[in-house]
Symmetry: C2
């Protein structure tokens, strides 16, 4: 039985994390695994590609029951954008389809947040976030006429973590838990009928 | 956020298995966890309760990507029955709904297999299988007029393991891989719309 690309990624990442690697090793070896996964856009089942007319969507693809990691499909319709937010755990964002812009913000002396750097991601490219260095950003679909999709990997169950959104002007933070849009996740061991299965 | 019963079970079992327990400990502590899960029949989503008119169904609920364990819903229409088969890994079968009969077979001097014991399981009861002692059985729906459902837990990914069915008369074995009927598994972290979520 041929193993699907998402299963191969989840297995490889689980194996890497079993060694309790440093964040540096996750961002080198784990990044290569994610780059492999997003090298071709032929494996994500249709159900996890659907944009919502009003909000960007977060579809859980796999989460470890002991909260060691999670893999999520983020789907952005034209013009959709996150609030300024943090993650509290390491994260890697791999562009699968379309194009996204991510701006990293840093708190200033007066408490406000300013974007000090901004990057555009094309399919195949990977961004990182880390509470140790750059954890607060705004991500948006950089295309006005099509859906963008990125595959996010975090060192925790991102949809269940209590984290924060920030008012960039006042710096006031508000706690939130993002949740997931989907009640069904892919069966990694039965991809019949899925693309590239 | 309230955790669903299936999530609590999967987390507790993963935590137990992290300690690399003996089979004896799995069959005592793990069994208690399974008994808790099946103590009430109000949590299994409809999609994983559906009988097939011709065959018993195996719906994957959760599998560990490193093949440490799997949790599967087995659904039997009236009159449905497995062939004589083995598992090759430890297993626990918890009756959730209806009633099943399980007969343990042992190979005789002439190579044939004979049922030496047979048990009926009612909701809340747990059976075990083990390659060390009793791994070869036939399970059937013991009710002629309703669906029976049991929740199976194995020390491997049961739908992916190469194992065997046996001709009880000749003892001839044939390898098989059972697979899964479902391409989508429950999102353990979003049970909205599911019973008892
Ligand atoms: Fe983010
Ligand atoms: Fe069996
Ligand atoms: Mg371990």
């Amino acid at each position: 039985m041929k193993e699907g690309k998402l299963l191969i990624f989840v297995k490889s990442l689980a194996t890497l994390l079993e060694m309790h690697p440093s964040e540096e090793l996750i961002f080198s070896n784990g990044r290569k695994l994610l780059e492999s996964l997003i090298a071709t856009d032929d494996w994500l089942p249709e159900a996890f590609c659907k944009p919502h007319p009003d909000y960007y969507q977060q579809y859980l693809l796999y989460a470890d029951p002991l909260d060691r990691f999670s893999v999520v499909s983020f789907v952005w319709g034209p013009g959709q954008k996150t609030p300024l937010h943090n993650h509290t755990v390491w994260g890697m964002v791999g562009q699968l389809r379309g194009q996204e812009r991510s701006a990293n913000y840093y708190q200033q002396a007066d408490g406000s947040y300013t974007a000090e750097e901004s990057f555009v991601f094309k399919p195949g490219q990977v961004a990182t976030v880390s509470p140790k260095t750059h954890d607060i950003h705004v991500v948006e679909n950089d295309l006005s006429d099509q859906t963008s999709i990125s595959i996010h990997v975090y060192g925790g169950n991102i949809g269940r973590i209590e984290r924060a959104v920030f008012d960039p002007i006042t710096g006031i933070e508000k706690l939130f838990i993002s949740g997931y849009a989907n009640t069904a996740t892919p069966n990694l061991w039965n991809t019949a009928g899925n693309p590239a299965s």
